[in-house]
């Protein structure tokens, strides 16, 4: 990573922390909620960035993992509040409102789903891969819509916010700080992995998969590992998102959601450490500012995306840094 990019990342991370806290201090708590949403959506996109940015795997179904994480949180909390067991047999399994446990379940559920979906979809490439990942996510979406036990189409409310030891998660500042800390951890993990032996091989497989195999590295296994990791992190984001909204609905599993997560990455810069964060910030700012002017703000988003894809393949970060260097 170049020094200017490191500077940009540091600046962005500082702003994302400072602006909402200052706003909250000045009596504008709305920005705190917005920043929490940005942080959580960024985590989801960091997850996708493993598969898409490093491995070149264009998954158009990451809403599946986001939604699974969300439902894991919602279902566990729901059962805990009602005092009902989730399972009576073969062993008794109750719900919980304890965040770390919920996160673990969300990560595991999303990772397992990514493993199974990856096992089938990673046999294909290109457009087929995009379509098959979309199809699996849609299957989950329709399942959630038609399964009445957890609210079906109407979604599932979570009446209290889940708990974290030593913190008051109902305090918006504290919940923001939790989300922000998880984002930093996800980014640190991304940075470590990108430069590890695994990351080097994964980035190579995006450039020239046939050549990777000729060096003795099984490409399918490599991609599957990246895909599982990617889904698991997006699942963690889903659990936090459920907590933020105190509500889970099939919307989290919809293809709009998959598209949104992907748009963050393309806007910000695929494969870049802070690409997902820059993309999510830009997206939310556009949504808030243009959304006020017109209900059709997404037309502008579409135009912007088109420009990025045509003229700034490195995304926002690439455009900013190249201008400074050039």
């Amino acid at each position: 990573m170049s020094a200017p990019e490191r500077g940009f990342n540091f600046g962005l991370a500082s702003l994302l922390l400072a602006v909402p806290l200052i706003a909250a201090y000045m009596g504008e708590p709305y920005y705190l909620t917005l920043a929490t949403r940005i942080a959580i959506l960024s985590i989801a996109a960091v997850g996708l960035n493993f598969a898409l940015g490093l491995g070149g795997l264009v998954s158009f179904g990451h809403a599946a993992y986001f939604g699974l994480g969300g439902y894991a949180a919602g279902i566990l909390a729901n059962h805990a509040l009602k005092g009902q067991a989730i399972l009576d047999w073969p062993f008794e399994l109750g719900g919980t409102t304890f965040m770390p446990t919920i996160w673990l379940v969300a990560v595991f559920a999303a990772g397992l789903a990514a493993f199974l979906i990856g096992l089938l979809s990673l046999r294909t490439t290109g457009v087929y891969f995009i379509m098959i990942t979309l199809a699996f996510a849609q299957m989950l979406y329709y399942f959630a819509v038609s399964w009445p036990a957890y609210g079906g189409e109407d979604g599932l409310p979570v009446y209290v916010r889940n708990s974290f030891p030593g913190l008051n998660t109902l305090d918006p500042v504290q919940f923001f700080l939790i989300s922000y800390a998880v984002l930093l951890i996800a980014l640190a993990l991304f940075s470590l992995l990108r430069n590890s032996n695994f990351g080097v091989a994964l980035r190579a497989s995006r450039q020239n998969p046939g050549r990777v195999a000729s060096l003795g590295i099984e490409v399918f296994r490599l991609r599957l590992a990246a895909f599982v990791l990617s889904g698991a992190i997006t699942g963690l984001a889903g659990a936090l998102y459920a907590d933020l909204n105190r509500f889970v609905s099939p919307q989290m599993l919809s293809w709009h959601m998959s598209g949104e997560i992907m748009v963050f990455i393309i806007l910000g810069g695929a494969g870049r450490l802070f690409g997902p964060v820059a993309g999510a910030v830009l997206y939310i700012i556009l949504e808030q500012s243009l959304g006020e002017v017109s209900d059709y703000w997404q037309i502008f988003l579409g135009l912007l995306l088109l420009c990025v894809v045509l003229y700034a393949r490195g995304g926002l970060i690439g455009a900013v840094l190249d201008r400074r260097l050039g």
Binding site: L192, S196, N197, F198, V200, Q207, R211, S214, L215, G216
Partner: protein, 250 residues
């Protein structure tokens, strides 16, 4: 060492009606350079792809170090010690020369599933990568992104990647194509040093290089081995002159 490293038994490959490989039997012994020559379209590259597992034969069998490897995928064959270079350079364009060769070391050592330590800080692997880069005289370009290399430099990078794997058999598909007279001379010297480390199956159109390097030569025409023998023998053979050497001979 009374056993060949690599042995092909009646290997056959068809592309539709085209018989690209026609019951080829051939072997590679420790310490030797076995050259494979033949006109364009004879099936030389196809044979290499069959050996490394990139293509599957219709019939016949391949033995490597005395064991049948027909059931193994290309990655497994590579990590057992079958290294190749590609006729059309195949590298990682966004990686530096060093990263390209480093990945070859990592692949051969089966150390891909390490997640947390910075890969390039592994001094053993880095040392091995640098040594091979040195050997093909690319040290000055070590930090250069591979997409910026000249054609000749790419050919040499390919050879460095293959060597970095410490292969037990090396399959080189026209390593000298387009590297110029000077490049050919350097590469000829390098390959003759390598032969003791790893036997080489060498596909090459440059007949001077072939005659200088080869211990044995096999001639492939329309997928069939029409002749195998020592350099002098092949030079003399009428069949070879007709089939190949007459073709394009000045």
């Amino acid at each position: 060492m009374a056993e060949p490293i690599l042995r092909l038994f009646n290997l056959t490959k068809r592309f539709g009606a085209l018989q690209a490989t026609d019951s080829v039997s051939l072997d590679l012994w420790p310490g030797e350079i076995h050259a494979l020559i033949g006109p364009n379209g004879a099936g030389k590259s196809t044979l290499v792809k069959l050996i490394v597992g990139e293509l599957r034969q219709n019939s016949g069998s391949i033995e490597f170090e005395g064991r049948c490897i027909d059931a193994l995928g290309s990655a497994e064959r590579a990590s057992r010690g079958l290294a190749r270079s590609f006729q059309v350079s195949s590298i990682f364009p966004e990686f530096t020369v060093f990263e390209n060769v480093f990945l070859a070391v990592q692949g051969a050592e089966r150390k891909t599933y390490r997640f947390f330590r910075r890969a390039l800080s592994n001094s053993e692997f880095s040392g091995r990568a640098s040594a091979q880069i040195d050997r093909v005289r690319l040290s000055a370009r070590s930090g250069t992104v591979a997409s910026e290399l000249s054609h000749g430099e790419r050919r040499r990078l390919e050879v460095a990647m293959a060597l970095a794997m410490r292969p037990k058999a090396l399959l080189l598909d026209e390593p000298m194509a387009g590297v110029g007279a000077e490049g050919t001379r350097e590469l000829t010297k390098l390959l003759s040093e390598i032969r003791e480390e790893s036997p080489i199956l060498l596909i090459e159109h440059d007949m001077d290089a072939v005659f200088a390097l080869a211990d044995r030569i096999s001639v492939l025409v329309s997928g069939r081995v029409v002749s195998t023998g020592g350099v002098a023998e092949i030079r003399r053979s009428d069949e070879v002159r007709r089939a190949y050497l007459g073709f394009g001979d000045e």
